[in-house]
Amino acid sequence: MKNTLMNNVATLFATAALAVSSVMLPSIASATDAVIDNAPQVSTLRGVAPLNAEVTPPIIEKVENNDLKRQRDYPQQPPTIPHDISKYQLDKNFNKCMDCHSRKLADEAQAPAVSVTHYMNRDGEFLGEVSPRRYFCTQCHVHQLEGEPLVENTFTDVDELIKQSIARDKK
């Protein structure tokens, strides 16, 4: 009996707290909006919409599918994928990428065969087939969208840095 009474009291308090907070909420929400407005414009794909608002998602950009190699921004960069890879099967049974990019099949498709580093294990030994740690291609290689960048890119190429340092030395 006592327990029930305590429960009832607790419920009453909870309800009261809820009522108060719902009155307070609008002001809290507007305060949050202000904070978000000051933040960089690409905080999330949702943009600056408040949490309780439904946003129309942006149209999915077309995948770059021109089969033209892109320049690498730095020597170690994994080359980007210049074609559509949607619906490619890449699981423990089958690797669709290797259907064209494996050593044995690259000539048939005239695709670049994966480099020998993909056959190396962590001890630098060469294996007969792609090393398990390099099996999932999309861990490093990504396709590109034909969209505009969301933020300005301030990346400086290493060649540019070398030039700058030589110029500095000359001074």
Binding site: N65, D67, K87, K92, N93, F94, S102, R103, K104, Y135
Partner: protein, 202 residues
């Protein structure tokens, strides 16, 4: 033995005698009507076994190939045209269809004895099941693909560079058929070790 011969003789005497009470017209017309009903009924029943509801009424098909189909372009795409099981797995031509339906008695056997009634068993048979279909499509020059995908209506200029190159050369000169390259487009591929080198882990 004698009894059987006696019975056969009796049936033959009945069949070889002309009808005494029924007119020739009645026999002809009723025979015709019965034939129409039988033929219609037979084909309707067979069409029923070609529906998606029928195929997915067994959990083996519903939970494995049908689930996988749903993520592919043959189920969901921009124009909403889609293929059901029988579009690809049953020939449309009547005689070929009957031949395939007779082969399917093996599948009834498999259903009764639970050949693929768990996910593990299905995975174990995946390569064999896939190879059956690849062999069939290879032998009939990908007939079921071509029921919808007409080579003459392919506009190479609307295809990607690589697709146009392959279609205008290897496919056009008959060196290859659809299934040679388009494997695993409606269902997941099995481990291809020994089938296509370098594409599957050992």
């Amino acid at each position: 033995m004698n009894k059987i011969i006696h019975l056969l003789k009796l049936v033959w005497t009945i069949l070889s005698k002309p009808a005494v009470h029924l007119s020739l017209g009645f026999l002809t017309i009723s025979g015709f009507i019965a034939g129409v009903i039988f033929w219609g009924g037979f084909n309707t029943a067979m069409e029923l076994t070609n529906t998606e509801e029928f195929c997915t009424s067994c959990h083996e098909m519903r939970d494995n190939p049908f689930m996988e189909l749903q993520t592919t372009i043959h189920y969901s795409n921009r124009s909403g045209v889609r293929a059901i099981c029988s579009d690809c797995h049953v020939p449309h031509n009547w005689t070929d269809k009957i031949a395939r339906k007779m082969q399917a008695s093996k599948e009834v056997w498999g259903k009764i004895f639970g050949t693929i009634d768990t996910r593990e068993k299905f995975e174990g048979h995946r390569l064999q099941l896939a190879q059956n279909e690849w062999t069939r499509l290879k032998a009939n020059d990908s007939l079921e693909c071509r029921n919808c995908h007409q080579f003459d209506s392919m506009d190479f200029t609307r295809q990607s560079k690589r697709a146009a190159k392959q279609h205008s050369s290897a496919l056009a000169n008959g060196e290859k058929t659809c299934i040679d390259c388009h494997k695993g487009i409606a269902h997941k591929l099995p481990n291809m070790e020994g089938v296509r080198e370098g594409t599957s882990p050992h």
